[in-house]
Symmetry: C2
Subunit: 237 residues, 2 copies
DNA sequence: TGAGTGCATCTTGTCTACAAAAAGTAGACT
DNA sequence: AGTCTACTTTTTGTAGACAAGATGCACTCA
């Protein structure tokens, strides 16, 4: 156990396994590790002061959530993205996001709202301070929390999967030089606030309108890639 | 179908790990292992002739797909079901099933259709021979294959999660003595055939109508025959 | 007698070492 | 000279043993 110092974020600690999970997620979401990259088990185990078995367990878990892809006798690779996946994303995202947001509006408690506002505060700060990774990270946390508030075990899996690529798309198409894009980030932040208000008021219809507008904003930013319109499938029977 | 009861193929084999995965899924889907049950690592490792690490890896993977639930320093338990999860299921299932089936209708190739028909043949056989587990298993395989044909990475996670409980609901509310339920199973089988036809004709609209009717049939069976008997689902806490 | 505490036991979590499979490389043969 | 093959190297997969945490029981003490 010679060099635990060389690792910046984690190398020692009570729960190094949680650190591994957390850090890997963060790196994949912010594309510090690019889609398609190979993850070396020994390198990770050394960096986080773990042996390979717990690292392998974490890999399996991440694979189950769609962060990475595993193949027998081959190295783990970060889930890849393609032009096709971009189309697939904007085809399905509205349906899932709308469903999650509507359900959240129906179920949210006062504590849920408080939790959302806390995350949104961090998101707003990241936007205003031009912290790109922070913005991506807290945007992910925001929508994931909405999904948790929705409190429906069947919608969360797809929402989780969508959020992974939502984060990465947000990084891929970010152009810091573009002033209009910056303005639209502030608009997105305001939309978050409005979504929280709608959820707090248990106004599912308004929440749906807002979340659709929220996604449209993202889609417009990458209109050059001809992202398709979402499927119009209503929730409920 | 291949009936994996106690331990016929366990112990030896070229890919005991695949056998473990496969068998565990099957047991959970058919409720040979009840929701809420604990899974003992050493028992499984002994049954399948593996050591604990690969068993633990398999558990992580199954947890990621929603078959089991893991908690730190506590035994793995089969994902529980409740009255609430029933409501949640029928709230979300139409949306996801419809989306998957519509997409499948748009993307299906001749080979896809052939694969579907093969699965449906097994399903029909299971229905006609009153093989309850086989029926549940091949129904799961059928809808999962439809989801794979849809070829959209973002809809599959929720579909997978839904199918787990779809299978278990199908077993919970099955009443072999009820003649009308038997007739409705045959109706479900005919619906499968029609769904395949619609997909083969790339008729998304018709496929949607059919899949909605298919789900309504399941829902009616529950309401009619299960509810009167008192909702005796003692599954999981 | 009841409640709290310490111990025994079992289960989960982790580590080191070994086995197997794939990839890359050098050599020999055609 | 090119290609096939055998070997070396690297990486993944597995095994068995050890450590840590949790649970249940018995025992002690008020």
């Amino acid at each position: 156990m010679a060099n635990n110092q060389s690792s910046p974020e984690a190398g020692v600690g009570p729960d190094r396994k949680a650190a591994l999970n957390h850090t890997l997620r963060h790196r994949i979401l912010t594309m510090q590790i690019a889609p398609g990259s190979v993850l070396d088990e020994v390198a990770l185990s050394e960096e986080f002061g773990l042996s390979r078995p717990p690292v392998r367990e974490a890999m399996r878990q991440l694979a189950g959530e769609g962060f990475i892809e595993l193949e027998a006798n081959r190295p783990a690779r970060v889930t890849s993205m393609s032009y096709q996946s971009l189309r697939d994303f904007f085809l399905i995202a509205p349906m899932i996001y709308v469903a999650a947001t509507r359900l959240a509006a129906e179920h949210a408690s006062k504590a849920d709202i408080a939790g959302l506002r806390e995350i949104q505060d961090s998101f707003r700060d990241a936007v205003h301070s031009n912290d790109v990774d922070g913005r991506v990270f807290y945007n992910d946390k925001f929508h994931l929390r909405v999904g948790e508030i929705a409190n429906n075990a069947y919608i969360l899996p797809s929402l989780r999967r969508l959020l992974i690529d939502h984060a990465r798309i947000g990084k891929i198409f970010y152009r810091p030089s573009n002033a209009r894009m910056l303005e639209e980030l502030h608009e997105a932040s305001r939309q978050h606030d409005e979504i929280i208000d709608a959820i707090a008021n248990h106004d599912a219809d308004r929440a749906e309108v807002l979340i659709r507008a929220h996604l449209d904003l993202s889609r417009k930013n990458m209109a050059m890639y001809a992202a398709p319109e979402g499927m119009a499938i209503s929730l409920g029977v």
